[in-house]
């Protein structure tokens, strides 16, 4: 049996299959379907300092091989999470990461500080890439000085695994990745959604209340794969790849491009058990090719 354990900084995951923020709720929404503790790491829905109602309906438009969303980080705020959700999920026997968001550096710091005190949360995913909020979010992820500041300041108050999630809506993904590594991130996850839009030709109106939204699903996989590969050439810290993964084969491609772990997002909506199929498929691939460990394939695309 091949060894599926991977390390993100000092943290070990029992396997490299994670679920992506905003597509897996707080995990428990999926426990009717399978034993969620089998997932290597669950990243919960994006959390902000205060309650956010998110954007107006409509927030979703289906596209060829994907979907656009404009949820806008709807959540009840970190205090609500700590009081009402954390007690429900803290005994799930796997790693749970909080996806941390803010409109200002101060808000990111405050949320990170509060999460730092939660024993059963071994890491955060710092989201500097949400395209669906007016202030903050992606603004931090598309400018090197802004990304540097937020990662540096959060690093000061956050002592556990710090994963930083990058936006694909940039000219040079490697520049941002280097800055984030330089400021002390333990790992990098990418990609968040690609900015897109959809118009209803009949009504001549936008399909989303916010006009533009974030594209996810198989439509973005080639872009995601390219970015993971580029970043892998530039940084030493582990990379968590995502964007359009629908099956084990897609996931393997991300490992070959240089990812140490993968996240499954939109695919969870179509098949809630897809993460387990990906996990089994990866195991099968390693056994079939007689690899002893997942590390035998990470970054091994041969040119």
């Amino acid at each position: 049996m091949a060894d599926l354990k991977v390390k993100l900084g000092k943290l070990q995951l029992k396997n490299p299959v994670m679920t992506a923020s905003g597509t897996f709720g707080y995990g428990t929404e999926y426990s009717d379907f399978f034993d969620i503790s089998r997932i290597g790491c669950i990243v919960v829905k994006g959390i902000t300092l205060r309650n956010r109602e998110g954007n107006a309906y409509p927030r979703m438009a289906e596209t060829p091989s994907g979907m656009l969303n404009a949820v806008g980080l709807q959540n009840r705020g970190i205090d609500h999470f700590i009081k009402h959700i954390y007690p429900e999920i803290k005994n799930v026997n796997t790693n749970i990461f909080v996806n941390v968001n803010g409109s200002t550096v101060e808000e990111y710091i405050e949320v990170a500080e509060k999460v730092n005190d939660l024993d059963k949360i071994p890491g955060i995913e710092l989201n500097i890439s949400c395209p669906n909020v007016k202030e903050g979010g992606m603004a931090f992820g598309v400018s090197c000085p802004a990304a540097a500041t937020v990662v540096r300041e959060v690093r000061k108050v956050y002592s556990k695994e710090l994963m930083v999630k990058l936006s694909p809506n940039v000219t040079s993904i490697t520049e941002i990745a280097r800055v984030v590594e330089g400021e002390g991130a333990d790992s990098i996850s990418l990609i968040n959604t690609l900015l897109g839009m959809a118009i209803d030709a009949e009504s001549r109106k936008p399909m989303l209340s916010t006009i533009t939204g974030g594209l996810s699903g198989p439509a973005i996989k080639p872009v995601a794969l390219r970015m993971v590969w580029q970043v892998a050439q530039e940084v030493k810290i582990p990379i968590v790849g995502m964007g359009g993964i629908m099956n084990a084969r897609d996931a393997i491609e991300f490992f070959l491009a240089g990812a140490s772990a993968v996240q499954i997002g939109t695919a969870n909506f179509i098949d809630p058990t897809v993460s387990m199929k990906v996990l089994e498929g990866i195991e099968d691939y390693l056994n079939r090719h007689k690899f002893n460990s997942i590390y035998d394939i990470i970054g091994t695309m041969t040119i």
Binding site: G22, F24, F33, G54, A56, R59, A61, G217, F269, D271
Partner: protein
């Protein structure tokens, strides 16, 4: 209620007319219990432009026959592909999803079920369910024309049926809210499902007369089980997911201008 992902077998695919068909699904195992107002998310195979599952209401659930009915209107590629399934094929469904209608305590309550267009779908199961519990109900069903007036014989088993069509091809001419029944008879509770303008008109009728009213919403959904937060509706308690907090809402909860 526990949710399941099941491969169900197509027992019948009955084309009512060009636009509507009923799928009767079954399983070798016992189907999970379902309540009126709940819906399923169906995976559509072999339709390249249909990426997400499709939410469809439970039209009827027959415990004895172990049958689930879905009444579907063909509006795009996904529903067209579903209309082509053959007897014996399997379809992958997530079910049961969403909440249910509330049932008044008094068995003598005068209940009105108003359906419009494909909003007939959940009203049939609700009517059957109420009937089983010993309630009497009236159905007020409306459509653009006769072709939209489907399953009337099914409805007649569970109560009095009143109809309107916009072109007058069946029943009274006009909208459901213009039907003479509403002038003649008093109701204690109204349930409705259909196009939003129709549900708003029904809600307004109920609101003005202080009649309790529940509506079943059909917002765009990506998941159907509360994780994507795409399907929200604005309520007095903020944005709530139609797929988990609904699809059935009391009109006092919605921020409709009625």
């Amino acid at each position: 209620m526990k949710k399941f992902i099941l491969d169900l077998i197509v027992k019948e695919n009955e084309h009512i007319n060009e636009d509507y068909f009923v799928l009767k699904l079954t399983s070798n195992d016992k189907l999970p219990h379902m309540l009126p107002g709940q819906f399923v998310e169906i995976k559509v195979e072999n339709s390249p432009t249909t990426f997400l599952r499709r939410p469809i209401s439970v039209n009827f659930y027959d415990k004895e026959l172990n049958e689930l009915w879905l009444l579907i209107q063909i509006v795009g590629n996904g529903t067209r592909k579903l209309s082509e399934v053959q007897v014996g094929d399997t379809l992958n469904l997530i079910l049961p999803l969403g909440n249910t209608f509330s049932i008044p305590g008094d068995k003598n309550s005068r209940l009105l079920l108003v359906g419009g267009g494909v909003g007939f779908a959940p009203m049939l199961f609700l009517g059957a369910y109420l009937n089983d519990l010993g309630y009497r109900c009236d159905f007020l069903l409306g459509g653009r024309s006769e072709a939209n007036m489907v399953q009337l014989n099914e409805f007649k088993r569970y109560g009095e049926v009143y109809t309107t069509t916009e072109d007058g091809s069946m029943g009274e001419k006009g909208y459901v809210t213009q039907h003479s029944l509403l002038q003649k008879k008093q109701f204690d509770m109204i349930y409705t499902c259909g196009p939003t303008p129709m549900m708003q008109a029904v809600a307004s009728y109920a609101h003005k007369r202080n009649i309790a009213c529940e509506v079943s919403l059909e917002n765009m959904m990506a998941c159907g089980f509360g994780t994507c937060l795409c399907c929200v509706t604005d309520t007095v308690d903020g944005n709530l997911c139609v797929c988990t907090e609904g699809p059935v809402f009391n009109i006092t909860k919605l921020k409709w201008q009625i």
